[in-house]
Symmetry: C2
Subunit: 427 residues, 2 copies
Amino acid sequence: MHSQRLRIGFVMLHTSPLDVPGTKDAGGMNVVVRAQAEALARAGHEVTIFTRRSDPAPAPRTVLASGLTVVQIDAGPPRLLAKGEHEGVMDRFGELLDAELRAAPVELLHAEHWFSGIAALPVARAHGVPLVQSYHSIAAPPESPLGAGERPESPGRLAGERRLAHEVDLVIAVSEAERRTVIERLDGDEDRVRVVPLGVDTELFHPCDSPECEEDRDWFGSGGRPEAIVVGRLHPLKGFDLVIDAIAVMDPARRPMLRVVGSPPPDGDDYARSLHEAVARHGLLATTAFDGALRRRDLAERIRRASIMLVPSHSETFGLVALEAAASGVPVIARDAGGLREAVIDGETGVLIPVDPAGDDPRVWAEAIDRLLADAPRRERMGAAARAYALRRSWDASAARLLEVYRELLARVSAPAQRETSVVSKE
Amino acid sequence: MHSQRLRIGFVMLHTSPLDVPGTKDAGGMNVVVRAQAEALARAGHEVTIFTRRSDPAPAPRTVLASGLTVVQIDAGPPRLLAKGEHEGVMDRFGELLDAELRAAPVELLHAEHWFSGIAALPVARAHGVPLVQSYHSIAAPPESPLGAGERPESPGRLAGERRLAHEVDLVIAVSEAERRTVIERLDGDEDRVRVVPLGVDTELFHPCDSPECEEDRDWFGSGGRPEAIVVGRLHPLKGFDLVIDAIAVMDPARRPMLRVVGSPPPDGDDYARSLHEAVARHGLLATTAFDGALRRRDLAERIRRASIMLVPSHSETFGLVALEAAASGVPVIARDAGGLREAVIDGETGVLIPVDPAGDDPRVWAEAIDRLLADAPRRERMGAAARAYALRRSWDASAARLLEVYRELLARVSAPAQRETSVVSKE
């Protein structure tokens, strides 16, 4: 439809697309941004990802693929920062981004996470290019209770997110759930929020295709235990404690192995420590593995060998790991919350546990786990349906939708009469 | 030399060759017995492994390969027993073994671990076949101090082991170190102890041969950390606590990832719990993985991806994992103790840490780890030498030596005049 090559700048201040997801501060967002950028580059566009240097090692510019470059910006010390520290480097990052864009202009900026949006907003105005915002996650309402080991949000976050909802040219939500949050919690303008669902790498994440893998999955029958896998940073939002408590209340003979993939975030390992303690307290050390962070292909191998994936997250904007399980032909038991209700089709590709009245009751999870593990034909049916569902959700399809949205925005901003003017000066 | 087909009965009372090493009570001994039995069967002999049923699932007879059968004997409850409980089922196991051998005679019995020896002794006498004993591990002297979480030996063990050293027809030691222990600690007759070194599966355990594997090992240079691996049941004898303490005293920027492979023994997880606590206390949760027990091929993959293996065991009769690391081209840092000094060639295939004066000093281990990790060419040289060393130590070579020893024994017992008579009646 449009063959014109776009020059697009992705701004990802606080975490690098070069980091391994599950390490440092890298999680699902890193996967998403990189996959989307790769798909845009494959479609013939030129994407530059601007990130803050958090490690002295990488070169200033890294060409990841034809049309895809990562630029390290030296704002603040070249080490990992705790989340709260990023607010202190946003201005400097913006100044250096401005200089980069003077040297190599783009037609559109797309900010990932609110730090990036706030840093990019004056730069976009100065260069007269539209700014698109993806939140990836949105702060919980200030009145919501903190989980064990969870820290309060930085005071600037909610204000920053609301400001972006009012001032950027377009907000991209990854799910209907996130779209509603932008409109309701951030007071976003309904006309300037578009849903672009994420994709999944169905080549990397695929069902078992080797005898070894099948043997692992069939191990249940020959004296082993089936395996339940949880994947994510070891943060209270992920709710992994609930899974440990659920397995503890199961009949010991029917308990699955539990595999925990992910490492603690850089701002604290209290929650990780509490998980290790819970496993020891419940006598589950012999049937629990803590894998730490895995590289993507090892993660894919781990997921496809599991019998089920559990996603007890208190909040997921999208729930990418659930879609990765689907691509791997692995059924998911997930909380019926946020984007998970779009990533899992209840009763078809997995099971959703209603939040009310008992979504936090370990016995409810234990029963759901036990029932699905006991029913191999149902798991197989769900696994096949899940794979079919994932195949319709490629990154190329996701990027095509994103481009449509970009084009629509560029058409709008090039017709200034139709645009509300924002009075935003640079600094 | 001898083409005659031997019928050999392996007696392995307390753990099954069908169990996955690292789970239940299965460890290096299960690997060894199965590999030796397979090599004997490949050489054309008929081997039956008699084991106590500890799980209702497996069939009474399992044919593992042509010439290799596992027979489950229903002595005691069909569940895992704690080590101390086995003494109560030895008599019953012997009675049922006797019945099995009446139906299908063997020419020689080979007992694995002392439980099996005591159970098999009267049976061998009743059937007039020689009994060969492998200890796999020998009780520590009663005066030696217990490690944290370690339980005292069952009172019958040392007496049982000494009785076997006096009464069996031949003791097989896996190393010079074990031969000396049999003679010195158990008062064994020097003429009736033979060393038959173990082998290693150099097809399963091989160096990296894929770009993914190489990439993992090279990750150090691209912002990751090298990986140190420890493998074994989570038991105080393995000394894994020392490795955790050593990594804790290293410069944080130079610490390796630590991968702990193995699960707690069935008689207690106190030690496993103390390891998790130590990792949390030292702030190492983000750089430590607890894999639990792995199947053999997954273990092999994990080992070949590691930069170094650490074997801080207080005692190893042989140290099979060190030889598996060698076969994988991975240098080993091990305590200069027991069989480890034969499994690792100090300065060539790895580094031996002298027991005195500082073998328990974490700083000594930290320095050795740091030095080897910092010297990639040395690691590469050692890895190549280690692989070459392992290639000379196949299981077929080990089994050929075992057969020589069997033949020598059978020749001796068929010449009764030269044999001391033991007066042992069957119950």
